[in-house]
Protein backbone atom coordinates (compact mmCIF):
# COMPACT_ATOMS: atom_id res chain seq x y z
CA UNK A 1 0.00 0.00 0.00
CA UNK A 2 1.57 3.32 -0.98
CA UNK A 3 1.52 6.14 1.56
CA UNK A 4 -0.08 9.22 -0.08
CA UNK A 5 -0.43 12.50 1.82
CA UNK A 6 -1.59 15.97 0.71
CA UNK A 7 -1.19 18.31 3.65
CA UNK A 8 -0.51 21.89 4.76
CA UNK A 9 1.84 20.89 7.57
CA UNK A 10 5.50 20.03 7.14
CA UNK A 11 6.75 16.46 6.89
CA UNK A 12 9.87 14.80 8.31
CA UNK A 13 11.94 13.11 5.56
CA UNK A 14 13.96 11.12 8.10
CA UNK A 15 10.87 9.72 9.76
CA UNK A 16 9.36 8.93 6.34
CA UNK A 17 12.49 7.03 5.28
CA UNK A 18 12.46 5.07 8.55
CA UNK A 19 8.87 3.93 7.86
CA UNK A 20 9.99 2.33 4.58
CA UNK A 21 12.67 0.12 6.11
CA UNK A 22 12.19 -3.61 6.69
CA UNK A 23 13.83 -7.01 6.45
CA UNK A 24 13.01 -7.40 2.72
CA UNK A 25 14.09 -3.87 1.81
CA UNK A 26 17.58 -3.58 0.39
CA UNK A 27 17.46 0.16 0.01
CA UNK A 28 15.35 3.31 -0.06
CA UNK A 29 15.71 6.15 -2.57
CA UNK A 30 14.02 9.51 -2.09
CA UNK A 31 13.65 13.04 -3.41
CA UNK A 32 12.79 16.03 -1.21
CA UNK A 33 11.71 19.18 -3.05
CA UNK A 34 12.35 22.51 -1.32
CA UNK A 35 10.94 25.98 -2.16
CA UNK A 36 13.73 27.89 -3.88
CA UNK A 37 14.05 31.69 -3.59
CA UNK A 38 16.10 32.34 -6.70
CA UNK A 39 15.17 31.45 -10.26
CA UNK A 40 18.10 32.33 -12.49
CA UNK A 41 18.27 36.02 -13.25
CA UNK A 42 14.55 36.46 -12.52
CA UNK A 43 13.05 38.16 -9.46
CA UNK A 44 13.45 36.38 -6.13
CA UNK A 45 10.51 34.49 -4.63
CA UNK A 46 9.12 35.57 -1.25
CA UNK A 47 6.56 32.73 -0.98
CA UNK A 48 4.71 30.09 -2.97
CA UNK A 49 1.03 29.22 -2.56
CA UNK A 50 -0.01 25.73 -3.67
CA UNK A 51 -3.59 25.17 -4.82
CA UNK A 52 -4.93 21.71 -5.71
CA UNK A 53 -8.08 19.83 -6.74
CA UNK A 54 -9.20 17.98 -3.59
CA UNK A 55 -10.16 14.42 -4.41
CA UNK A 56 -8.60 14.33 -7.85
CA UNK A 57 -5.17 15.07 -6.37
CA UNK A 58 -5.18 12.05 -4.07
CA UNK A 59 -6.54 9.83 -6.87
CA UNK A 60 -3.87 11.06 -9.31
CA UNK A 61 -1.07 10.43 -6.79
CA UNK A 62 -2.42 6.94 -5.98
CA UNK A 63 -2.52 6.15 -9.71
CA UNK A 64 1.04 7.42 -10.06
CA UNK A 65 2.23 5.20 -7.19
CA UNK A 66 0.41 2.22 -8.70
CA UNK A 67 2.18 2.77 -12.03
CA UNK A 68 5.56 2.83 -10.28
CA UNK A 69 4.70 -0.33 -8.34
CA UNK A 70 3.62 -2.10 -11.52
CA UNK A 71 6.84 -1.16 -13.32
CA UNK A 72 9.43 -1.75 -10.57
CA UNK A 73 9.67 -4.27 -7.73
CA UNK A 74 8.98 -1.99 -4.77
CA UNK A 75 8.50 -2.95 -1.13
CA UNK A 76 7.11 0.48 -0.32
CA UNK A 77 6.33 3.87 -1.83
CA UNK A 78 5.56 7.30 -0.31
CA UNK A 79 4.34 10.52 -1.93
CA UNK A 80 3.77 13.65 0.17
CA UNK A 81 2.86 17.05 -1.29
CA UNK A 82 2.26 20.18 0.74
CA UNK A 83 -0.43 22.75 -0.05
CA UNK A 84 -1.02 26.33 1.10
CA UNK A 85 1.57 29.08 1.54
CA UNK A 86 5.21 28.04 1.76
CA UNK A 87 8.35 30.09 2.27
CA UNK A 88 11.75 29.60 0.61
CA UNK A 89 13.67 26.84 2.36
CA UNK A 90 10.52 24.94 3.33
CA UNK A 91 9.86 21.37 2.20
CA UNK A 92 7.26 21.15 -0.57
CA UNK A 93 7.30 17.59 -1.90
CA UNK A 94 8.67 14.19 -0.90
CA UNK A 95 8.75 10.97 -2.89
CA UNK A 96 10.44 7.76 -1.79
CA UNK A 97 10.62 4.20 -3.05
CA UNK A 98 11.94 1.14 -1.25
CA UNK A 99 13.08 -2.02 -3.00
CA UNK A 100 15.23 -5.09 -2.61
CA UNK A 101 17.67 -3.52 -5.08
CA UNK A 102 18.90 0.02 -5.68
CA UNK A 103 18.14 0.16 -9.39
CA UNK A 104 14.40 -0.24 -8.91
CA UNK A 105 14.28 2.23 -6.01
CA UNK A 106 16.33 4.92 -7.80
CA UNK A 107 14.46 4.65 -11.09
CA UNK A 108 11.06 4.61 -9.39
CA UNK A 109 11.86 7.83 -7.51
CA UNK A 110 12.96 9.62 -10.70
CA UNK A 111 9.79 8.41 -12.44
CA UNK A 112 7.57 9.50 -9.54
CA UNK A 113 8.87 13.06 -9.36
CA UNK A 114 8.99 13.52 -13.14
CA UNK A 115 5.42 12.31 -13.54
CA UNK A 116 4.08 14.07 -10.46
CA UNK A 117 4.98 17.40 -12.04
CA UNK A 118 2.78 16.78 -15.08
CA UNK A 119 0.02 14.45 -13.85
CA UNK A 120 -1.16 15.73 -10.46
CA UNK A 121 -3.50 18.75 -10.24
CA UNK A 122 -1.39 21.25 -8.28
CA UNK A 123 -0.83 24.89 -9.21
CA UNK A 124 1.78 27.27 -7.81
CA UNK A 125 1.30 31.02 -7.40
CA UNK A 126 4.47 32.89 -6.50
CA UNK A 127 4.79 36.07 -4.49
CA UNK A 128 7.90 37.92 -5.60
CA UNK A 129 10.07 40.12 -3.46
CA UNK A 130 8.89 43.12 -5.51
CA UNK A 131 5.38 42.51 -4.11
CA UNK A 132 3.78 41.15 -7.30
CA UNK A 133 1.98 37.81 -7.55
CA UNK A 134 2.13 35.46 -10.54
CA UNK A 135 0.88 32.00 -11.44
CA UNK A 136 3.80 29.77 -12.37
CA UNK A 137 3.68 28.62 -16.01
CA UNK A 138 4.15 24.94 -16.88
CA UNK A 139 7.60 24.14 -18.29
CA UNK A 140 8.08 22.27 -21.55
CA UNK A 141 11.13 20.59 -19.97
CA UNK A 142 8.88 18.97 -17.34
CA UNK A 143 6.57 17.60 -20.06
CA UNK A 144 9.59 16.21 -21.89
CA UNK A 145 10.98 14.57 -18.73
CA UNK A 146 7.67 12.83 -18.03
CA UNK A 147 7.23 11.79 -21.67
CA UNK A 148 10.66 10.14 -21.54
CA UNK A 149 9.25 7.48 -19.17
CA UNK A 150 6.37 6.44 -21.42
CA UNK A 151 5.98 2.71 -21.60
Amino acid sequence: MPRILVQAVDFNPGAELARLGGEETGGIASFTGIVRASHGAGPRIAALTLEHYPGMTEAALAKLAARAQARWALTGCTIIHRIGRLLPGENIVFVAAASAHRGDALQAVAFLIDYLKTSAPFWKAEEREDGTRHWVAARAADEAAAAGWDE
Binding site: Y53, L116, F122, W123, A137
Partner: protein
Amino acid sequence: MKLLYFAWVREKIGQTEENLPLPEGVSTVGGLVSWLRARSPGHAAAFADPRLIRCAIGQEFVGMDTPLAGAAEVAFFPPVTGG
Protein backbone atom coordinates in the same frame (compact mmCIF):
# COMPACT_ATOMS: atom_id res chain seq x y z
CA MET B 1 -23.48 19.60 -14.54
CA LYS B 2 -21.10 21.07 -11.95
CA LEU B 3 -18.23 23.14 -13.34
CA LEU B 4 -15.13 23.67 -11.18
CA TYR B 5 -12.40 26.24 -11.82
CA PHE B 6 -8.87 26.31 -10.45
CA ALA B 7 -5.86 28.66 -10.30
CA TRP B 8 -5.96 31.59 -12.76
CA VAL B 9 -9.00 30.16 -14.53
CA ARG B 10 -10.87 30.54 -11.21
CA GLU B 11 -9.46 34.02 -10.62
CA LYS B 12 -10.36 35.32 -14.09
CA ILE B 13 -13.90 33.92 -13.89
CA GLY B 14 -14.30 35.09 -10.30
CA GLN B 15 -16.03 31.88 -9.18
CA THR B 16 -14.83 28.54 -7.83
CA GLU B 17 -17.77 26.63 -9.30
CA GLU B 18 -21.12 26.95 -11.04
CA ASN B 19 -23.96 24.62 -11.93
CA LEU B 20 -25.60 24.56 -15.34
CA PRO B 21 -27.35 22.13 -17.63
CA LEU B 22 -25.45 20.97 -20.71
CA PRO B 23 -26.03 23.85 -23.16
CA GLU B 24 -27.99 23.05 -26.29
CA GLY B 25 -25.75 22.27 -29.25
CA VAL B 26 -22.71 21.57 -27.05
CA SER B 27 -21.43 17.98 -27.07
CA THR B 28 -17.69 18.07 -26.32
CA VAL B 29 -15.28 19.70 -23.88
CA GLY B 30 -13.97 21.97 -26.63
CA GLY B 31 -17.52 22.98 -27.53
CA LEU B 32 -18.19 23.87 -23.90
CA VAL B 33 -15.04 26.02 -23.76
CA SER B 34 -16.26 27.96 -26.81
CA TRP B 35 -19.74 28.31 -25.29
CA LEU B 36 -18.39 29.47 -21.91
CA ARG B 37 -16.32 32.19 -23.58
CA ALA B 38 -19.53 34.10 -24.33
CA ARG B 39 -20.87 33.77 -20.77
CA SER B 40 -19.11 36.80 -19.19
CA PRO B 41 -16.04 38.99 -19.71
CA GLY B 42 -14.32 36.92 -16.98
CA HIS B 43 -15.09 33.66 -18.80
CA ALA B 44 -13.86 35.24 -22.04
CA ALA B 45 -10.57 36.18 -20.38
CA ALA B 46 -10.15 32.74 -18.77
CA PHE B 47 -10.82 30.83 -21.98
CA ALA B 48 -9.18 33.29 -24.40
CA ASP B 49 -6.42 30.80 -25.31
CA PRO B 50 -7.79 27.22 -25.32
CA ARG B 51 -4.22 25.87 -25.65
CA LEU B 52 -3.67 26.90 -22.00
CA ILE B 53 -6.81 25.14 -20.74
CA ARG B 54 -6.83 21.62 -19.33
CA CYS B 55 -9.95 19.67 -18.37
CA ALA B 56 -10.96 16.82 -16.08
CA ILE B 57 -14.28 14.98 -16.14
CA GLY B 58 -15.10 13.01 -13.01
CA GLN B 59 -11.58 13.88 -11.74
CA GLU B 60 -9.82 12.27 -14.74
CA PHE B 61 -7.82 14.29 -17.26
CA VAL B 62 -9.56 14.42 -20.66
CA GLY B 63 -8.88 15.99 -24.03
CA MET B 64 -10.87 18.74 -25.75
CA ASP B 65 -12.68 16.31 -28.07
CA THR B 66 -14.09 14.25 -25.16
CA PRO B 67 -17.91 13.94 -25.16
CA LEU B 68 -19.73 15.58 -22.24
CA ALA B 69 -22.72 13.22 -22.21
CA GLY B 70 -23.33 12.03 -18.64
CA ALA B 71 -20.62 14.24 -17.14
CA ALA B 72 -21.52 15.37 -13.59
CA GLU B 73 -18.31 17.17 -12.60
CA VAL B 74 -16.23 19.04 -15.18
CA ALA B 75 -13.15 20.99 -14.09
CA PHE B 76 -11.16 23.57 -16.05
CA PHE B 77 -7.68 24.68 -15.05
CA PRO B 78 -4.25 25.70 -16.39
CA PRO B 79 -1.49 23.15 -17.08
CA VAL B 80 -0.42 21.73 -13.70
CA THR B 81 2.70 23.02 -11.92
CA GLY B 82 3.20 20.86 -8.83
CA GLY B 83 6.34 19.18 -7.56
